[in-house]
Symmetry: C2
Subunit: 123 residues, 2 copies
């Protein structure tokens, strides 16, 4: 999964989101080591400072921790990850429902449109 960075939002915020996703989905496994700031920055075609900023935030949230020179690691605490994963999911659902209702769709419509989309994606 490559890095997807759009210009309509601060890059550091997008980096936070995408790294969060990779941790919650297990792509970055608990306890595993991340590439170095410099490597991650190169990978994402981003300035190291920008990547550092994103990582610092995730560290603040407890998803990552860093040791002085051996690198930066995903937390081993499964519970922290689980909590974040569910928090993000709840937010996604609520935001989605809010937007759809603002657009003027009813619960039934939302559900049926979603089901339709799920069927289509299967194929």
């Amino acid at each position: 999964m490559p890095w997807e960075l759009k210009a309509d939002r601060p890059i550091y915020a997008q980096l936070i989101e995408q790294i969060e996703l990779k941790i919650c989905s297990g792509i970055y496994a608990p306890g595993s080591r991340l590439p170095s700031v410099r490597d991650l920055a190169r990978e994402a075609s981003v300035n190291p400072n920008t990547m550092q900023r994103a990582l610092a935030k995730l560290e603040e949230d407890g998803l990552l921790y860093s040791t002085r020179t051996s690198g930066r690691f995903v937390t081993e605490d499964d519970n922290v990850i689980y909590q974040v994963k569910n928090k993000l999911a709840q937010e996604q659902i609520q935001d989605f429902l809010k937007k759809m209702k603002q657009l003027g769709f009813e619960n039934k419509e939302i559900l049926s449109m979603l089901k339709t989309m799920l069927e289509e994606v299967k194929r």
Copy 2:
């Protein structure tokens, strides 16, 4: 519905979205006149230039049109609105599903979580 503007994204982009929503949901009815740029800007606590920028974009998309001095109006073309409404809905659904899958949820889970949330909101 008041104006909700967060600091994590360009204001003009948020204005575009929210006005789009109001048009698609009929809060701003087809053919109806919008408040003036200055009034809208005051209403949203935003600089007139910023509001102007958002309106210009919506005009470009065909949702609005302006006459020199009698103001700015929502298009009378129901079809244009319908198209935009559905395009936005499709985007919402796809983005939502993408994020949820990246988080590691299966179709079944997504559907059941959504249903649960819909039940809760009812109350």
